[in-house]
Amino acid sequence: MMKMILTGNESAAWGARLSRPKVIAAYPITPQTSIIETIAAFIANGEMDARYIRVESEHSAMAACIAAQNTGVRTFTATSAHGLALMHEVLIWASGARLPIVMSVVNRAMAPPWSVWTDQLDTMAERDSGWIQLYTQNNQEVLDSIIMSYKIAEKHNILLPSMVIEDAFILSHTAEAVDIPDQRKVDDFLGEYEPAFKLDPEDPAGFGSLIMPEGPYMEFRYKMALAMEDAKKEIRKVVDEYNETFGRDYQPFIEEYRTEDADAVLLVLGTIGSTAKDVVDRMREKGKKVGVARVRYFRPFPTEDIRALAKKVDMIGVADRSYSFGPGADLFAETRSVLYKHTDIPVKNYVMGLGGRDITPAILEKVFDDMLSVAKEGVADKEIEWVGLHGDERWST
């Protein structure tokens, strides 16, 4: 066992290195840059046997990964915010072409106003791209998730690309101790990449050809929907196997913390989870029964786990670090949607931390207090609460 002090981005680079992709095609963007810089150094130093393709844009980076993966090799790339948005078209191509590409995404706010700090709108805007989405909470989880993502994505009943997502700066540029799994154990765990199909001059084929309206276009999309559903089973299996092999204790879909006897539970994505758990401990000391449920996978959406959670509690608060200009932010809207007719407990949206604004323990304590009063009333005073707007005394700390 070897521990190193690594930033989230270095952890992502290590996760890629240990998974032995053969092609990396990437374009730099703050705050992702140090992932691909670290990988470039690994390759230059001969520590990684891969071809690094420098491209002129993120659209080209994903296009190059698609082409390379089609030749039958593992690929890796990384991006953030506007880079991810520029990839949008080819993200949908990658999933429709059923290529298990793994990509690190460092969550960053979308401009304007310009902001390089954390905000989850960039990945939420790609929720319908057909990619698996996993939100991480610490650097160890970043590294481990990349390895697990290759294993899940490459299964021939899945074949869906996968995003491993980390919060800008809070993880990407913050160092902590990370256990580096043994390369041979990772090799055994992942195995050689076995493509379900590939470009082969001996057996020529064209991929992704035109399908008329009467053709099986709908059927191919339905197969993707089945694969995303199957991914739930494979995620459980792979997480169990990883926990056992590498001595970790990941919960597959939702990391629940002190939810068993909680009156109110806050659903979160990413690093809000670690702050919230700390706040829960403090509030428990004051006799306030609150808990945290950190959602790891947003795609596939953990419908069953959220329904099971709702049975245990009187109220669910949903923290979103992004906003959708519809019926509340994404995690909230989907949570409430899967709970329809399964429970009548109140569900309330707390929109906070946009553009990297700090989500402090003091703010979260106010959120938990608000949730407890909603739990007591049995009904939410309002569905969507923007927490911490300038001048709003209700949330000043």
Binding site: G96, A97, R98, L159, A196, F197, D203, P204, A205, G206, F207, G208, S209, I211, P216, E219, F220, Y222, K223, A227
Partner: protein
């Protein structure tokens, strides 16, 4: 009835694109008047399909004996979509675009 799904995860075509004969798209057919053709091959160079190929020198008449030793050209109507670029580029107006229905299927 069970739902019928494609076997492959994504469309995988094992037939070459030459199986897709695009001649049926044509509204106007390019007809070569070989007695005018100076065998400059500008049509061959410009055809985007490409549906214009070389043919042996004696396959078609030449306007001058001096030209009769050079390869002539032919249009492959299986693939020609009738875009008319060849007729437009021909410096001696040796290619005529004829409305397909009045061309009478002769090739």
């Amino acid at each position: 009835m069970p739902i019928i799904l494609p076997e492959d995860p994504t469309p995988i075509a094992k037939v070459p694109s030459t199986e897709n004969k695009t001649g049926g798209w044509r509204t106007f057919r390019p007809v070569v008047h070989y007695e005018k053709c100076i065998r400059c091959y500008i049509c061959w160079k410009f055809c985007p399909e490409p549906a214009i190929f070389f043919a042996p020198p004696d396959k078609h008449p030449a306007p001058k004996e001096a030209l009769a030793k050079f390869d002539t050209i032919e249009i492959n109507y299986d693939y020609c979509k009738g875009c008319g670029i060849c007729a437009n580029e021909c410096p001696v107006k040796a290619i005529e675009m004829v409305f397909e229905e009045s061309a009478g299927g002769e090739e």
